[in-house]
């Protein structure tokens, strides 16, 4: 596994009333890797994502993200005790995501995400979707609207650059010809990829994808694999993904975390997880002591 930890999830617990959706889960995601979060339906994967990206406030636990130099980790406890939510110095920055509202997690900690049910702006064009993603830098360029309304020329340049950036992504997705069509008119697979491109337009350091291959055919899944590998190669973005499609998970991820009923049951390389009896048990829905029998049946 390359690099050092960039995201640390520690003792994360999320309760909804009496239901414990995530129970004391800890794991790390390393810089520049592709990590996967897997588990049966209702295991709590999306809930973990929602906690990381600030949509839910965890009942307990700490979620820390670090930019830049790994020396930033040394001040983690200090930051936690100080009650602040972020700390920046010359070498990097440290964020406590559980203390930040959702939009700041995206804006300041630079964590982008996609959704299990596609959430594109379907009545806006494909290009507009990518422009909305560049809201914060463009807002600054338009002088928080004041200069923009008055027609200061600086903004036009920045907007042109933003369009060019969007065009770059559309070329990558082979969607340039559909740039001016409403996003809701795209075929399903293209919508999934557009949502990823939109998240990437926010310049994230960590990209969280909730079931990006859901509903894709084998060919589209293969394309998705290529896209994700290219994103890591060209932008150095770390990727954390939830996935049921094992062809995606096993092929591209460096590291897999397995959840079942809100509890982490396995954590390691694809090779390790694939052969972990607990994982096999969870997926086949049998108790631990019966795993040996099942393994024998399926011929492992």
């Amino acid at each position: 596994m390359a690099g050092e930890a960039m995201l640390r999830v520690e003792h994360l617990t999320m309760r909804f009333g009496g239901l414990v959706a995530v129970n004391d889960v800890s794991f790390e995601v390393h810089r520049g890797t592709i990590a996967a979060l897997i588990g049966p339906n209702g295991a709590g994967k999306t809930t973990v994502f929602n906690c990381i990206t600030g949509f839910y406030k965890p009942s307990e636990g700490r979620i820390a993200l670090q930019h830049g130099d790994s020396s930033a980790w040394q001040s983690l406890d200090q930051l936690t005790d100080s009650g602040k939510r972020e700390r920046r110095d010359a070498n990097g920055a440290l964020f406590l995501l559980e203390r930040m509202p959702d939009y700041l997690v995206a804006q300041r900690a630079r964590v982008a995400r996609t959704f299990q049910n596609i959430r594109l702006f379907s009545g806006m064009t494909v290009l507009e979707n990518l422009m909305v993603a560049q809201h914060n830098p463009l807002m600054l360029a338009s002088g928080y609207t004041v200069l923009g309304v008055l027609g200061f020329p600086g903004y036009a340049v920045r907007e042109y650059e933003a369009v060019e950036k969007a065009r770059g992504w559309l070329e990558r997705l082979e969607l340039v010809d559909r740039a001016d069509d409403p996003a809701g008119d795209l075929p399903y697979g293209a919508q999934r990829r557009l949502e990823i491109a939109r998240a990437m337009c926010t310049d994230p350091v960590l990209l969280c994808l909730d079931e990006p291959a859901a509903g894709l055919n084998a060919h589209e899944s293969a394309e998705l694999n290529e896209l994700l590998l290219a994103i890591r190669k060209d932008f150095g973005t770390t990727i954390l993904l939830i996935e049921h499609d094992m062809s995606v998970v096993m092929e591209i991820s460096d590291h897999i975390v397995v959840l079942d009923y809100g509890v982490k049951i396995s954590d390691g390389t694809p090779e390790f997880v694939r052969n972990d009896p607990k994982v096999i048990g969870a997926y086949l829905g049998v108790e631990d002591d019966e795993v040996a029998e099942v393994e024998a049946e399926v011929g492992l």
Binding site: T53, G123, M124, L127, E128, H135, N136, S142, D180, A199
Partner: protein
């Protein structure tokens, strides 16, 4: 008898029965509304009289229309629908390209057309009742369009900001004698300040809850205006508000008045024409600024907010601030319009700022097509112009009898027109959306994909 003839006969019988039921229901409805009339006689006694002929005309008319709909219009519409796959309606580009400059050109020369056509005193009505009145509502419609049409926040209390603008001008002008040109921006700022003040607690709410709270806010402002007699003079309102001057030159008969300065014979129409150009300028400013805002990041964020708030937050957009700016912008234009209103009337009272005003402005936005500026302008012309024309519809007396007063049936006719439009075009007159930026070609987006917001 052939099968088809038999079917036709049964259809006619069915339609007749249907029309009969309709007649019965409308008789029940209109008997108290139209058939009975209370009149106070000379001795101050309340007398009940009947208007049976009028009632019969109403019921016959409704039953007739119903018969027409079931026998002719509905089968025709069904046949048409079966024949053609419906293409989404959008205004052709050439139309919108020519329409806007043409409309602005027409509005600029409009006072002179009416002067030439009906002379000084005759044109007063055309410039004031039609021109100024409609333009005020165009401006209000465009202002509310930012909040409702672009950001998708249902605001039922928009008139509150109009009132804040009007009272800001009325009070500050009469107490401190500040000029219109200072108070106009000040009124806008004060209104947007109130917009933000209301926005902070309220924008956490969504959909129906937001609508109810804004409705309440509109009422609170009005009731404060009624009851804070020391400041606002209550129901009696504020009278003798200083009228705007032509950059310092008053519109009066004095030697230094407008007419004398420009060597014209005095006419009250001069001021009206000045006010007309003033509101035209303000309305065009509103339209221009809104058009620009739509192409800026804020405008795009407003529309994205209407489409999907959660996705906006995942992209790092501060949705609370974005909603607040929409509220503040909308309120600011209402404040401008309010201070113009106070300057034009010279008198304001809480009566002018009732819920029905909010409802009228909102229906202009909804009828026009949420988000479409041209649509909103057309709807304002139709609704407000329609109200004014209704005052002049004397020919209706030929049908309904001499005592018929068309203005009393304004709301009825409106409601009817509104129902028709909602059947014909449920998303408003111009429902398609223009993209704010394009790579190769600007294509309009059909209304089916565009969301209306959830509050």
């Amino acid at each position: 008898m052939t099968a088809s003839a038999r079917r036709e006969r049964s259809e006619v019988v069915h339609a007749l029965r249907d029309a009969g039921i309709t007649a019965l229901i409308s008789f029940g409805l209109f008997l108290p509304l139209v058939g009975l009339l209370t009149i106070t006689n000379m001795n101050n006694e309340l007398r009940l009289t009947t208007r049976l002929p009028l009632l019969v005309i109403f019921v016959a008319l409704i039953a007739g229309v119903r018969l027409l709909v079931t026998l002719v219009i509905r089968p025709w519409a069904e046949r048409r629908r079966a024949l053609s796959t419906r293409k989404p309606f959008s205004i052709p580009r050439s139309f919108s390209r020519w329409f806007v400059p043409f409309a602005i050109g027409f509005l600029v020369v409009y006072p002179f057309i009416s002067l030439a056509a009906v002379g000084y005193s005759g044109s007063l009505k055309w410039i004031d009742n039609f021109g100024i009145q409609i333009l005020i509502y165009v401006m209000l419609g465009w202002g509310l369009n930012i909040v409702v049409g672009l950001a998708g926040l249902l605001d039922l209390g928009y008139v509150a900001f109009y009132a804040v603008g009007a009272y800001s001008y009325g009070l500050l002008a009469s107490h401190f004698g500040l000029s219109f040109w200072i108070l106009l921006p000040l009124a806008g700022i004060l209104s947007s300040f109130w917009g933000i003040l209301l926005g902070f607690p309220v924008l956490r709410l969504r959909g129906d809850y937001l609508a109810i709270v804004t409705l309440a806010f509109g009422e609170i402002i009005r009731i404060v205006l009624v009851n804070w007699v020391d400041l606002t003079n209550g129901y009696a309102g504020i009278a003798a508000i200083p009228r705007p001057t032509f950059f310092g030159i008053p519109f009066n008969t004095d030697d230094n008045g407008f007419a004398a300065t420009f060597h014209l014979t005095f006419s009250p129409t001069h001021r009206t024409i000045f006010l007309y150009y003033l509101i035209l300028g303000l309305a065009l400013l509103t339209g221009y600024v809104t058009t620009r805002l739509r192409r800026l990041p804020v405008g795009r964020a407003w529309e994205a907010l209407r489409e999907d708030e959660i996705a906006c937050r995942s992209l790092g957009i501060n949705t609370t601030n974005t909603k607040l700016t929409a509220f503040a912008m909308g309120a600011m234009f209402a404040g401008f319009a309010g201070s113009f209103f106070a300057a034009r009337q010279g008198f304001i009272s809480p009566e002018s700022f009732t819920f029905i005003e909010s409802a009228t402005i909102l229906s202009i936005v909804v009828l026009g097509g949420m988000g479409s500026q041209i649509g909103v302008a057309i709807a304002a012309v139709a609704m407000i112009g329609g109200t004014e024309i209704m005052r002049d519809m004397d020919f209706l007396k030929a049908i309904f009898g001499d005592t018929f007063d068309p203005t009393q049936y304004r709301m009825l006719i409106f409601g009817f027109a509104m129902v028709l439009i909602m059947i014909w075009k449920p998303r408003g007159l111009i429902a398609s959306r223009e993209p704010s930026v394009f790579l190769k070609e600007r294509k309009t987006i059909s209304s089916e994909l565009v969301k209306e917001g959830h509050g």
